[in-house]
Symmetry: C2
Subunit: 280 residues, 2 copies
């Protein structure tokens, strides 16, 4: 039985040392269901909306009557942050700086800065074209925050190209991870981080207390597996049935790796996956 | 061949009269791909996040390079609006007023009021516990706005319990529609609107220029079908493959109607659906 992802930060290791042989997965899940979980989600200009709001819908829904969660939306400054990346952004393959104000972009309200974000148990990092901008213009606030806070976290999650921030923070060193498949070669370029085992065909990857997903909507599937791991199936199933989403439960199902011709993807594998309500 | 949903508002009817026999679905789709589409999304205290952000992710993504869209987030006042419903809300079955500030709720930034919202081609109405509040406390701003603007719209969409606002606005009179399956009996109570054919087992329903979906994540599936109808399969497929979401394409697949024991749901039907990337 592989080591629980739950037992991977120092404070939790201390708890498990106290519990001894009682530090099973189900004991940790019971503990997690009892405590108030401090969840932080980073939002930067040019975040991909569903990267945040897929997982956040699940956490929001669970917080109604199943578990206690406090939420911080963390960014450069307090106030509305747009899904439109800053002017000057150049996505991979684009050689002229763009000023994409034409995007139909929502704004999310940031509640805490990188300086005022509270103690966090879970940190979620979305992807989006803002990742390209910050790389090109050497803006390091997101990766610096991840690097500072990682030792204190119980769990670190990324969706889509958000994994590039984890790579640049150095926390994927020696770990397996995945990312968005349409900008695969950009994210997995060793310039962002060495000694990372990038998994080319995966809806999500879990290594230790780090969870990384493929693009955009994959965050919803990863979050189901994550919730099942940390809170147990009852919480995860009730949540996902409440939001009427039948999750993909096979982390190796990744047809977008195949259709994007990601090197290493198994082209003989079926593109199809069959889903039903969680627990049914 | 059933009448195109595209040809159902007066201005578009006028266009089709001009086009005569050229007013085919594909002609309308070409016209739609040429024009800038004015999209409005209502946000009220206690909106369900994924009701907005599932469809909005699809529209946002399409607006990058496929079609031109302007976006208005419309609510009571400009500024951040929380997914936490106001104090005093009583969801169905709850008899004590709640003050659910404990919810892990994001805030979306409202850009226009019900008074300043611009001319709209598409209006999307989310669901959420705010619907219960506004019904109980007789707050009619959302349904009044829908009733005023409906004649000018090309398309009206709702997700989840948002359909109750369409019912109360009177626009579902003589139409088929569906809604969230866990609060089915509340939404479909004739007190909200008579002469509505509520479809008990449907991921979404399209009648004329009105599209209504089941709960929360169903909005993502409905929006794929909607985009395919108004812009054509090339736009819809490119968008959904870009967000790595394999949509459910059968509007009759609705396992949540079965597991919620909605009267009229076919319990013999399979709970399962098999999906693959759009167009594959």
């Amino acid at each position: 039985m592989k080591p629980s992802t739950l037992l991977n930060s120092l404070r939790v290791l201390a708890l498990s040392a106290t519990l001894g042989s009682c530090a099973t997965n189900s004991t940790m899940q019971a503990f997690n269901r009892m405590r108030t979980m401090s969840l932080g989600i980073i939002a930067y200009p040019g975040f991909e909306p569903l990267d945040i709001f897929g997982p956040l819908e699940a956490f929001h829904s669970a917080s109604g009557s199943l578990v206690k969660i406090t939420l911080s939306i963390i960014g450069f400054e307090i106030g509305p942050v747009s899904a439109t990346p800053p002017a000057g952004v150049m996505p991979p393959g684009v050689t002229t700086p763009l000023d994409p104000g034409w995007l139909a972009s929502p704004s999310i309200y940031v509640t805490h800065t990188f300086h005022t974000a509270p103690a966090l148990d879970i940190l979620l990092v979305p992807g989006g074209p803002g990742d390209f901008y910050r790389d090109q213009y050497h803006v390091t606030d997101v990766e610096d925050f991840i690097a500072r806070r990682y030792p204190q976290l119980n769990y670190l999650l990324s969706v889509c190209s958000g994994a590039v921030n984890l790579a640049r923070a150095g926390v994927l060193n020696g770990k397996r991870a995945t990312t968005n498949k349409s900008v695969w070669s950009w994210v997995t370029d060793p310039v962002h981080g060495k000694n990372i085992t990038w998994v080319p065909e995966a809806r999500w990857v879990n290594d230790g207390n780090i969870w990384t997903s493929s693009g955009v909507s994959a965050g919803l599937d990863m979050t189901y597996a994550f919730m099942k791991d940390i809170w147990g199936a009852a919480v995860a199933d009730a949540t996902y049935n409440g939001i009427e989403y039948a999750p993909h439960q096979d982390p190796d199902w990744d047809p977008f790796a195949i259709i994007n011709n990601v090197p290493g993807a198994d082209k003989k594998r079926s593109l199809k996956d069959c889903v039903a309500p969680a627990g049914y």
